[in-house]
């Protein structure tokens, strides 16, 4: 469409709706993902607080709850079935609608084109569609609280037979479960559209000179995360289709013979609930890497800006990300050690899982080595990055226990597991997310976030986080099972029961601390000090664009890349950082005069 190309240039006469609502611009779509994730985080976090309330003071009556949830908390006491819905929805919302949206949907959309020097995604329309379907899926998920029987209560893993029957085993098995499945289907469609875009954009739209060896690790990690998602989500699609058929069309893929409900034998026969577990975890395990890889990749881009030296082990880190991704696809069985699998199969999954510790440890060591000898600047993004490194190490230790079938079997379905995965896909991702928001906020909105509030946010969040989730590891060692509504009759828990009260207080502190972040975010949007193009004096391409970047990201030409992304404290250079678009002295292409338009400075 040659007639459009002029309009595609710098001048845009787009209406407000085309510009900010149904926008094709990757940056607007990214911010839409962020805002949606923020709203969903308030919901998911709120649910966590209710869960903690019940764990600390089970059966207690809270007048406010009776007012807020007349059906779920009659007389102010949380009902057991409502508690199950809370657990289910907290997990689902946090994994898919907060972390996925913010890290993959938000930062993926924002950073991939800017860091590889593209003007937008390869398929902008598909990108917009991806966001609107994502929004629809979140609305459908929230809507499930209000259908007959309330939201699903079979856990974020939705194991059959509980999830496969429509009889009112628990109220959530009526319509809540069906709506949950529909929402997940929409989510998968949206992720597929987004992931396709990421893969094609990274492979096809890199700026001149941006070879794969010069791509920042953020982009590598988002690329691999998209590939993992694309290859694993279809398994859940298949599983969900079969589950919907079991629920609504009378098939028995997952339902064995001899199930009773009330006094009635269900007519199903021959199905196996284990089929669901395999299909679900074929997605479910790679999904945790979909979430954690971008957080790890971003760490390597944030670190050097505050150590003022190159990162350690760029190449080994990319290889490690690949190996983690590859192994992550074939270890799903470690979620199922107690399902009665053949011990040799269990051994395969154990060894595969423990092998993942090698590339993970390499990444961790590279992070620490990247700190070595640097001149550290403890800004808020740096603090959160250090917090991430710490959580990655501590949380990873728990993985050693759970990856090993012999140790996992007694720990399965205890709070040890809850503590472990909160460290990894709760903590590492959340700290990575906060680090990234504090770091890239100036680029996104042209203003700095407040450092004092940021540090307060960090120093309240980190200790509370450790207290809560390390505490849960100990509860798990004590045998406290997860997903139970009440532990009143378990005398073996008497000695450790009260730890739950302390954990709940810590959770409230951590929950309250997040409001400091929200206040900081919105206050800084309006009042933050103005940021230049490159407030952190960093080297990657997004910092060569204006803050915030205009539509198309750069003016007349996209930058040409001449060096790797971590050129800090280069000998003989006037500044302690050299952006990727600065030509090299002995660059042969530079000598030929092809790089005359590259800008050595960025204002």
């Amino acid at each position: 469409m040659p007639a459009d190309s002029a309009a595609h240039d710098t001048h845009h006469e787009l209406s407000f709706i085309r510009r900010y609502i149904f926008s094709l611009d990757h940056k607007v779509i990214a911010i839409q993902y962020f805002l949606t994730a923020m709203v969903m985080a308030l919901v998911g976090g709120g649910l966590a607080m209710l869960i903690r309330l019940n764990l600390a003071w089970p059966g207690e009556s809270w007048a406010i709850l009776g007012f807020l949830f007349p059906a779920g908390a009659e007389g102010g006491i949380l009902k057991p079935e409502f508690y199950l819905a809370l657990v289910t929805m907290h997990g689902t919302i946090m994994v898919f609608f907060v972390i996925s949206f913010a890290l993959v949907g938000g930062f993926g959309n924002y950073l991939i084109p800017l860091q590889i020097g593209a003007r937008d995604m390869a398929f902008p329309f598909l990108n917009m569609l991806s966001y609107w379907i994502a929004l629809l899926s979140s609305i459908v998920m929230i809507f499930s609280f209000f259908v007959e029987g309330g939201a699903a209560g079979s856990g974020w893993t939705a194991y059959p037979p509980l999830s496969a029957v429509r009889q009112v085993v628990i109220p959530g098995s009526m319509w809540g479960q069906t709506v949950w499945l529909l929402s997940m289907a929409l989510f998968i469609v949206s992720f597929t559209m987004g992931g396709l875009n990421y893969v094609v954009t990274v492979l096809n739209l890199r700026a001149p000179g941006m070879t794969l060896r010069r791509v920042p690790l953020t982009v590598w990690s988002l690329f691999l995360s998209a590939v993992l998602g694309l290859l694993s989500f279809p398994a859940l699609t298949a599983a969900a289709v079969l589950l919907l058929f079991d629920r609504h069309f009378g098939t028995s893929f997952y339902l064995p013979a001899g199930l009773f409900f009330g006094n009635e034998v269900l007519p199903n026969s021959g199905g196996t609930p284990l089929l669901w577990q395999h299909l679900f975890w074929f997605l479910g395990h790679p999904e945790v890497y979909v979430l954690i890889l971008p957080a790890l990749g971003m760490t390597f881009d944030i670190l050097p800006a505050f150590t003022r030296k190159p990162i350690f082990g760029y190449r080994i880190t990319t290889y490690s990300l690949y190996v983690i991704g590859g192994l992550g696809m074939v270890v799903w069985g470690h979620h199922m050690f107690i399902s009665g699998m053949n011990p040799f199969v269990g051994e395969f999954f154990s060894i595969g899982t423990l092998l993942i510790t090698i590339p993970s440890a390499m990444i961790g060591v590279n992070m620490i080595a990247s700190l070595w000898g640097g001149s550290l600047r403890l800004t808020t993004p740096m603090l959160f990055t250090l917090g991430l490194i710490s959580l990655f190490g501590t949380g990873g230790m728990g993985g050693l226990f759970l990856g090993n079938a012999a140790a996992d079997i007694p720990l399965h379905d205890t709070y040890f597991v809850v503590g472990h995965f909160h460290f990894m896909i709760g903590g590492v991702t959340l700290f990575g997310l906060f680090a990234a928001v504090y770091f890239w906020f100036p680029k996104m909105f042209g203003r700095m976030m407040n450092e004092t509030l940021g540090k307060l946010h960090f120093w309240l969040t980190l200790p509370a986080f450790y207290f809560i989730f390390l505490g849960q590891h100990f509860l798990g060692f004590g045998g406290m099972p997860r997903r139970y509504y009440s532990f009143a009759n378990y005398t073996f828990l008497d000695e450790i029961r009260d730890i739950n009260i302390w954990i709940t207080w810590a959770a409230f502190v951590m929950g309250a601390a997040q409001f400091i972040f929200l206040i900081n975010f919105f206050w800084s949007l309006a009042r933050g000090t103005r940021a230049g193009n490159n407030p952190w004096r960093a080297t990657t391409l997004e910092w060569t664009a204006p803050s915030p970047p205009p539509h198309g990201n750069w003016g007349e030409t996209v930058p040409t890349v001449h060096r790797w992304p971590y050129e800090y404290s280069l000998e003989g250079s006037a500044e302690d950082f050299t952006p990727q678009n600065v030509p090299r002295d002995n660059d042969s292409t530079g000598a030929l005069g092809e790089d005359t338009h590259a800008h050595a400075t960025d204002g």
């Binding site: 190309s5 396709l196 694309l230 079969l242 026969s269 021959g270 030409t557 996209v558």
Partner: protein, 194 residues
């Protein structure tokens, strides 16, 4: 100067890279479709070990449909070769004939479903019949999207006359269409094994 800029800047929606991106995007999409059917296949294998599994004789009409779909792959290639020799009108006719054959195939699948129901095999009758409906239905939905793609591309090529991209975009269509043909043969063989 402007065109020069565009080539170097490869802006979205413009320039030579777009059909190339579409082709790559399609391959990535086909990878996800492959995993989807692989997941169904593993479910099929697991479930077929169940004691209540009874093989349902497949409707013989499926053979007719298979021939139709194979023929449609050939018509698409006839269209593309006509395009290469610049006989645009012939190319368009064969292109639309492909979409038409796709629709006939879908109707044929519905006829096959009718045949199953007439013999008393419904979705919940037994796991094999459930898989027949689910896999043929899912393949049919993908094929329907293929028909939509053919119609969309033919509109852009012949009505809006986007000659520059013609060959590349028909190439994208062909990749998807042949993939769906091969996928159908896989589904047909899997279901026939019972």
């Amino acid at each position: 100067m402007h065109t020069q800029l565009m080539d170097r800047d490869h802006r979205p929606g413009e320039g030579v890279l777009v059909p190339y991106s579409a082709q790559l995007g399609l391959w990535v999409f086909l990878a996800t479709v492959t995993i989807l059917f692989a997941a169904f296949t593993s479910a099929y294998i697991v479930r077929s070990a169940g004691s209540d599994w009874k093989s349902v004789p497949l409707p013989s009409f499926l053979w007719v449909n298979t021939v139709l779909l194979a023929w449609s792959s050939i018509t698409l290639e006839i269209s593309r070769s006509a395009l290469r020799s610049d006989s645009l009108k012939t190319a368009q006719n064969w292109f639309l004939a492909t979409a038409g054959l796709g629709l006939v195939f879908l109707v044929g699948q519905l006829v096959a479903w009718q045949d199953l129901m007439a013999r008393g095999f419904y979705v919940p009758t037994n796991p094999h019949s459930a898989f027949i409906y689910i896999l043929t239905g899912l393949h049919g939905l993908h094929l329907l999207s293929g028909v939509v793609l053919l119609v969309y591309v033919s509109r852009r090529l012949w009505i809006q006359g986007e000659t520059v991209r013609q060959r590349d975009l028909t190439g994208v269509c062909a990749t998807y269409w042949h993939f769906l043909g091969i996928l159908w043969i896989f589904v047909f063989v899997l279901l026939s094994l019972g």
